[in-house]
């Protein structure tokens, strides 16, 4: 035998895969590198400097938009995760019952409807509500974000619940724990990694949203993504790269944390 024959190999596939990974990261890497450029250009390297980070930090609009983004994402993620946790408990570890499929489809619906259509729908609805109530604060954005974050928060929590059996809860009930006590001292601590993972996912999703925010926001309510969308039309300086880099690092940190949190159930089983 000259060469061992691997049944799994397909010619060229590994090359294409490597090419794919390269292409996925090339633009992001370029973006990050040029955020440290000392010149005005986003394509000609003129030396290392942190001036664009400094200029972004001193840009009042950027700071305000970032702060607004974080506020909305934090509140919306908490609301979405709370709702998703309750919904996950209601829809797992049970035999099929009437309405279960209905619940699944409603919870997953925001994933199926094109975002632009939801955005338009909310624009219409909220413009009415604004006239009726006279309120035009961040509440609309928070409610809109919370709603489309629910399915994302729901996924890891449901996965975690499905890997837990009911024996511990039954034991607690046998020992005369009330259903609230059982939830508080048995279910919740076991479910915690799933809830945290859901919270982080919802946070990132809310932080990233452009389309719905763009339609729902009132004047002066730019979040960081909508601010950036507005800026992309003009001449772009490496300040945009600097903002993007900070944003990327933040998302990356959260996603890495999420990755490790959602791995824990497998370790528990071993």
């Amino acid at each position: 035998m000259a060469k061992s024959f691997s049944i799994k190999r397909q010619p060229g596939f590994a090359t294409i895969a490597m090419f794919c990974f390269f292409l996925l990261y090339l633009p992001i890497a370029t973006l990050v590198v040029y955020s440290f450029n000392s010149g005005m250009s986003i394509a000609t390297w003129e030396g290392f400097s942190l001036r664009w980070f400094e200029s972004a930090w001193n840009n009042q609009q950027v700071v305000e938009a970032s702060w607004r983004s974080l506020q909305i994402a934090a509140v919306a993620a908490v609301i979405a995760t709370a709702c998703a946790t309750l919904a996950a408990i209601a829809t797992t570890r049970t035999g099929p019952y009437r309405g279960l499929t209905f619940k699944y489809s409603v919870i997953n619906m925001p994933l199926l409807v094109p975002e632009i259509v939801t955005a338009v729908a909310l624009l219409i609805l909220f413009s009415r509500v604004k006239v009726w109530t006279g309120y035009s604060g961040l509440g609309y954005l928070i409610v809109a974000h919370a709603a489309f974050c629910v399915p994302f928060a729901y996924m890891p929590i449901r996965a975690r619940l499905e890997s837990m059996d009911l024996s511990l809860e039954k034991a607690a009930a046998d020992l005369y724990a009330s259903s609230f006590q059982t939830f508080r001292y048995v279910t919740l601590p076991l479910l915690w990694p799933g809830i945290l993972a859901g919270l982080m996912l919802a946070f990132v999703i809310s932080l990233d949203d452009v389309v719905i925010t763009e339609f729902v926001k009132s004047g002066g309510q730019d979040t960081l993504p909508t601010y950036m969308l507005g800026q992309l039309r003009r001449v772009v300086t490496p300040e945009m790269n600097a903002i993007s880099t900070v944003f990327l690092v933040l998302s990356l940190a959260i996603v890495t944390l999420f990755f490790f949190l959602s791995r824990t159930p497998q370790k528990d089983n071993e």
Binding site: I16, C20, L24, C83, A87, G99, V113, S244, I254
Partner: protein, 308 residues
């Protein structure tokens, strides 16, 4: 009075189901009121008359739907087919389809590559695919823009080498939109493909080789039919958001190369024709629904044949 144990258990079951409805109520109410419910309003608005400064007049009108298909000349009231709308819908479908095909061409080998790594390495490769997925879509679009713009990396590089004498215009073309969408949606193709490929039974492939199949024969007649549900799932996951894409065509397509998403936005912004915007939105939802329906039917069909 005696209560049979059967009745007790029935009552308990009823109470449990009631509790479960109670627990899921906040999520359902939130989604229905701020995500799914408002779609009904869009449908309603598509049958109203446009107001003078945006918004609508509360009178029944089919003008919005009429305008989706036809355009009325403002001077002599003659009616003709709304070429612009057809063109934009057609371009959106074409671009979304091309994006799906490119994602499949690049995504399938990538997913196959990940699925054939040693089990403990797979999650790392998968993680590398998911990172771009979770980073902001706008930032990724911006990153592509930096690479392809006239003063961007590619043009600067080519100019320096002397391969070209003037920068190639890549921004604001259909090509730019397609490239951007392929880049942005690729992970959505790889993930479901990987999920299918991971479950692939390699004994079947071995059997194929035993029966003198070529590498291509094995790929075409064993692997691809077996992972067809994954291919369809990935294609739908890419096609639907690509079709209704708004950010990518806005940034990379400039003002000229519109897609449906931008056309809809235009009606709520400068166009000030909310009923037309609503009607276009409903049309988009209907196209998406058909794509889903196609997926559900095919997924159940191929799922059945895989077992048979």
């Amino acid at each position: 009075m005696t209560v049979s144990p059967q009745e007790v258990s029935e009552q308990r079951q009823k109470k449990e189901i009631r509790d479960r409805w109670f627990l899921s109520a906040p999520a359902l109410i939130l989604i229905v009121s701020a995500s799914v419910g408002p779609l009904v309003i869009v449908l309603l608005y598509s049958f109203l008359a446009p107001g003078n400064y945006g918004d609508v007049k509360w009178e029944f009108s089919t003008e919005g739907w009429f305008n989706v298909l036809f355009s009325r000349d403002i001077f002599d009231d003659t009616v003709s087919l709304a070429d612009a709308h057809f063109l934009i819908f057609w371009r959106s479908v074409k671009l979304a389809f091309a994006t799906t095909v490119f994602c499949l061409i690049f995504g399938f080998p990538t997913a196959y590559f990940i699925a054939t790594r040693a089990p403990h390495n797979r999650s790392l490769w998968l993680f590398l695919i998911t990172i771009p997925f979770w980073t902001n879509m706008l930032i990724r679009t911006f990153a592509i823009q930096e690479v392809i713009r006239s003063e961007g990396i590619i043009n600067t590089l080519l100019l320096k080498i002397g391969l070209i004498s003037a920068p190639i215009q890549m921004m604001f073309t259909d090509f730019a939109i397609m490239l951007g969408m392929t880049y942005v949606f690729l992970p959505l193709m790889v993930l479901p493909l990987y999920a299918s490929l991971e479950k692939l039974d390699f004994r079947l492939i071995e059997a194929g080789y035993d029966l003198y199949a070529s590498r291509f024969g094995v790929l075409w007649r064993i692997v691809i039919p077996l992972v067809k549900p994954g291919i369809i799932a990935g294609s739908i996951l890419v096609f639907v958001p690509a079709l209704s894409s708004y950010v990518v065509p806005r940034v990379l397509g400039g003002g000229k190369n519109l897609m449906v998403g931008n056309l809809i936005e235009l009606q709520f912004g400068q166009g000030r024709n909310w009923p037309l915007g609503a009607a276009l939105s409903v049309t988009l939802v209907i196209i998406v629904l058909f794509a889903m329906l196609y997926y559900v039917r095919n997924a159940s069909k191929s799922g059945g044949s895989a077992h048979g």
